[in-house]
């Protein structure tokens, strides 16, 4: 559709490349059509092709755990983490552990949050952070929320430190960076559950396991951002540092890292958001807190209460995101000469005064100290009533939609995906990859999928592929027009982008609440959740792509007498397409994550197997499944990146 607008010059060797792709395509189609005549070995991976990766991994893990005694190291580390967790738990919600001075009154914590918010970005952020804690306390969710927060408070600094050090090491050694890169790629496309299983094996279940898995899961973005930041420091700044006579160490600590501050703090922001996403999911391995509560309530279909918890999680997410972003973007500002010290330290003084006052007041009025479950408010009853009323109204629509989707879309498509012989799928993937990136791409992509075939989970994998395909297709059908609509006016674009930003901070778990509410627990709910989750990046990148089209080109089109529609179709969309494809890429990644998470509301794909692996602590199986999911993501990523890079080069962007 887009190539029509721009006459592309034939690429070098383009004819042969398309010809190869076409031949492969025909072979693939023939394989599908002639399925009944094919030998069994071409329909499903034959036994000799299925390698026992899981057993090998298990053997390796057993060796590391028992023979190398790694378990003592991990247990010791986990015990250290647990001690820290206990300290924060005591301070935040009064768990009876050393130092036994907690809990801090909720009003003090809320006031501190408000002061921090104000210091970072003024009144609105103060209101948001203070308000979040007030909501938590008043709704009687203090203990759960603090259980969740205490893990973040402990895990995030660990991740940040580890990420920073690894990032610096990768920046110093090109070899290490080269080794690290593919590991990070796979790590960042592994679903959350794949991280949990090894942790369960080495550490067990419970809060400390939750904290450790959170630490591990949130390190990669910090490494990436540290590396990026350090590389971005301009040569002149470094040269000026050298000419000032800085030694290597001085250069790193006084010049490079402070100058890369913004990127590093963006990394911190990502760490915190990843921590929150993981800590909510860690409920699956016995992490108490908001996630566990939400999981229980959702499984019991208590919608009102889940919505309450959902709001808390969302508020926490938005607050943490805004605060850490404000910190990253904050620019230093000087005080006028002769400003007295109490003006310079105004906020610290206000904070100290507030804290003292509230500590005193909490002694007099117990409600300012702690709000017990019984004293708390709950909106669950009216919420449930409202939801029930709403569901009764929309029920005919949702029932019909559910029926239509299942009978006419989902089941036929699933059957089609399962019908295709695995050889045909591999050949078709090779065809697509060859058309986009030639032999190299084809080899990489087939290797990714060959692993899936060899893992022995072909059918399950195809169900995952089918769910993701359907979901991304629906998400595109919704998100793409919404993005075009959103980009029409600048003010609207900004509002929609802000909404997308906010939605993206929500932990994925949250998206399950509305779909379970509407569709109950079934395939349609899974697809619904994935669609919701995957549409956000699509909308966002569509808008950003359309906004990024150079003004002169749009103006040139308008001066040539093009209508709005013509400008959109012939100029703006083709130019925005590479950016939009980045959105599609992200959307696929998000779908994969979501499909796996949604497994617990009932799917028959890799996610369900992953849950089984989790409950039986089967590391090998878990990692094989996780890698399979990661490879699906990396395949799409590779194709989109290759295509996008070529396209951009062609368009001279």
């Amino acid at each position: 559709m887009s190539t029509a607008a721009i006459n592309l010059p034939p690429m070098g060797g383009g004819l042969t490349r398309t010809r190869v792709a076409r031949i492969l395509l025909i072979i693939g189609l023939v394989l599908i059509i002639s399925k009944t005549m094919l030998p069994g070995g071409l329909i499903r991976p034959p036994e000799w092709l299925v390698w026992p990766f899981a057993d090998w991994i298990n053997a390796a893990f057993r060796f590391m755990r028992d023979d190398l005694g790694l378990i003592h190291v991990t247990r010791a580390f986990a015990d250290g983490v647990e001690w820290l967790l206990d300290v924060t738990a005591n301070l935040l919600y009064g768990k009876s552990r050393w130092p036994n001075i907690g809990p801090i009154p909720w009003t003090v914590i809320a006031a501190s949050a408000a002061v921090i918010g104000y210091a970072l970005n003024g009144w609105r952020l103060a209101l948001l952070s203070g308000g979040t804690f007030c909501w938590i306390a008043i709704m009687g969710q203090w203990t759960w929320s603090m259980e969740t927060l205490s893990v973040i408070v402990v895990a995030a600094p660990f991740s940040i430190l580890m990420g920073l050090l690894t990032g610096i090491a990768a920046w110093r050694s090109a070899l290490f960076e080269k080794l690290l890169n593919p590991i990070l790629n796979v790590a960042q496309s592994m679903p959350h559950f794949a991280y949990m299983i090894p942790v369960v094996v080495f550490i067990g279940v419970g809060p400390k396991a939750g904290a450790v898995v959170t630490i591990i899961f949130s390190v990669p973005p910090m490494i990436r951002m540290t590396l990026l930041g350090l590389k971005k420091v301009s040569d002149e700044v470094i040269e000026s540092g050298k000419m000032c006579g800085a030694t290597r160490l001085q250069l790193l600590w006084s010049v490079r890292i402070p100058t890369a501050r913004t990127d590093i703090l963006v990394g911190v922001n990502q760490v915190i958001m990843q921590c929150l996403a993981m800590v909510v999911l860690a409920s699956f391995i016995g992490m108490p807190g908001l996630g566990q509560k939400l999981l229980q309530l959702l499984q019991a279909l208590k919608i009102g209460r889940s919505v309450e918890i959902g709001i808390t999680i969302v508020l926490l997410a938005v607050m943490l995101d805004r605060c850490s972003k404000a910190w990253a973007m904050r620019q230093p500002q000087h005080f006028a000469k002769g400003t007295p010290w109490f003006v310079r330290h105004r906020l610290a003084l206000i904070w100290a005064a507030l804290t003292l006052a509230l500590l005193g007041l909490a002694q007099v009025f117990p409600l300012l100290d702690q709000i017990s479950r019984r004293q708390a408010l709950s909106a669950a009853a009216p919420l449930d009533a409202m939801v029930d009323w709403f569901i009764v109204i929309v029920d005919p629509v949702t029932t019909w939609l559910r029926w239509f989707l299942i009978v006419w879309v989902l089941i036929p498509l699933r059957d089609a995906f399962l019908f295709a012989p695995f050889s045909a799928v591999l050949v078709l993937i090779a065809a697509a990859a060859w058309a986009i990136g030639g032999l190299r791409s084809a080899a990489i992509c087939v290797a990714f999928f060959a692993f899936i075939a060899m893992s022995g989970w072909w059918d399950r994998a195809m169900i995952t592929v089918y769910t993701v395909t359907v979901s991304v297709a629906i998400a595109t059908a919704i998100g793409f027009p919404l993005g075009i609509w959103g980009s029409r006016k600048e003010s609207r674009a900004q509002r929609v982008l802000l909404a997308c930003d906010t939605l993206q901070t929500f932990p994925s778990f949250i998206y399950l609440i509305p779909v379970v509410m509407l569709f109950g627990v079934n395939d349609v709910a899974v697809v619904g959740a994935v669609v919701l989750f995957a549409a956000v990046p699509l909308i966002r990148y569509t808008i950003e792509g359309l906004r990024g089209v150079p003004h002169e080109m749009v103006e040139a089109a308008e001066m040539s007498g093009a209508t709005y529609g013509q400008t959109m179709r012939k100029v703006r969309l083709p130019l925005a397409l590479p950016t939009i494809m980045v959105g599609v890429n992200q959307s696929v990644m998000f779908s994969l994550f979501m499909v796996i998470i949604a497994a617990f509301i009932g799917t028959q794909d890799l996610g369900q197997e992953m849950q089984r692996a989790l409950s039986s602590s089967d590391v090998g199986k878990g990692l094989v499944l996780g890698t399979a999911v990661a490879f699906m993501g990396l395949l799409v990523d590779h194709l989109v990146q290759t295509w996008g890079a070529k396209r951009r080069a062609l368009l001279g962007l």
């Binding site: 002149e236 700044v237 000026s240 540092g241 000032c244 800085a246 030694t247 000087h334 005080f335």
Partner: protein, 343 residues
């Protein structure tokens, strides 16, 4: 007029960029051209440069972008390791210095100003200026006192607590200048310090720079792509092309006697009268009968234009600052410079 021992001395300095450039360089014989090196897949950023910079001189290195001038100045300060040749600073071969000695050299003798200022964004003006002193390990109090002194010198007093982004471009470069002067360097490198500023500010900063130089009298290597700037500031100008120095000489000599076609093209558009001083145009007295008031040898022909046209004398006596007779300036030659060649 040259000091016996140059402060900086380069002997056939080479800098090649490319894969395994050292090895490739060792295979080179004779004087390969820029083009032939390029065909081999290497970029000759600095090509066989030999220069001596005496104490107290302001040498301006001038060339278009990509001519290698920035690379050359980085070779002089060893921000870049050279591929061939030698650079001596105060008689020391800086290529042979260990990292510690090099840092010591920079901490005691060199200052550098950068085109995009190279300020540290998270530090105030005061902290930026004190940064080299901090690196030296001086205590907070001395640091502060010295930094305030230099800030005052560059005219930024009262802005010590500002952050770089709160300052205009000209002010930021003043901070860069102050920082480079904080350690009282003997050698001052300036890499296109005013190129990022708009023309009015640039002019103001050049004046400021001349004032500072008058005050401090340092040995200066100044880089620019602006010929007018070079003429304004330089004791000597080195014109670079494709990594090699085409000509290195006093501004008026470059204008009057360009050594190569390339230099001639540069000087073509220049108003020679503003560059050429009486001292450059004068001839020996050789018994010419001279009358009337003498003109100053440092005055440019442009300064003398009114006199040359209105005064009926055919020849003017030229005197130095001390009033001693140095030579004679012929009226016709001065008019030729003013109006351009008779051709």
């Amino acid at each position: 007029m040259m000091a016996p021992e140059p402060v900086i001395s380069c002997k056939s300095v080479w800098k090649l960029f490319g894969p395994n450039a050292d090895h490739y360089f060792s295979t080179l014989r004779g004087a390969p051209s820029f083009q032939s090196i390029r065909e081999a897949g290497y970029i000759a950023a600095v090509r066989d440069v030999t220069l001596d910079i005496p104490r107290g001189e302001m040498l301006v290195i001038m060339g278009l972008s990509g001519s290698g001038k920035s690379t050359l100045v980085r070779c002089l300060s060893r921000l870049i390791d050279i591929t061939g040749g030698e650079v001596h600073v105060d008689g020391q071969d800086i290529g042979a210095l260990k990292e510690k000695e090099l840092i010591e050299l920079r901490r005691s003798k060199m200052g550098m100003v950068f085109q995009s200022f190279g300020l540290l964004p998270h530090r105030t003006v005061l902290e930026n200026v004190a940064f080299p002193l901090e690196m030296r390990g001086q205590d907070r109090h001395t640091r502060r006192a010295r930094a305030l002194e230099v800030i005052e010198l560059v005219g930024l007093a009262g802005r010590e607590d500002y952050f770089p982004r709160e300052l205009s471009g000209g002010q930021q470069q003043r901070v860069g200048i102050a920082r480079s002067l904080a350690i009282e360097p003997d050698i001052w490198f300036l890499d296109e310090p005013f190129s990022a500023l708009d023309p009015l500010i640039r002019r103001e900063m050049q004046d400021e720079f001349l004032r500072l130089q008058g005050l401090l009298g340092k040995t200066i290597v100044f880089i620019t792509h602006d010929f007018d700037e070079a003429l304004r500031l330089a004791d000597r100008i080195a014109i670079m092309k494709d990594g090699a120095v085409e000509q290195c000489d006093r501004p008026d000599r470059i204008v009057m006697n360009p050594a190569t076609e390339y230099v001639a093209k540069f000087t073509h558009e220049i108003d020679k009268a503003r560059v050429v001083r009486a001292s450059a145009l004068m001839q020996p007295v050789n018994g010419t009968a001279l009358t009337g008031e003498a003109i100053g040898s440092h005055q440019t022909i442009h300064d003398l234009a009114r006199l040359v046209i209105n005064d009926p004398r055919e020849a003017f006596p030229v005197a130095g600052k001390d009033g001693a007779l140095l030579g004679v300036l012929r009226r016709q030659e001065a008019i030729d410079v003013l109006l351009g060649d008779h051709a």
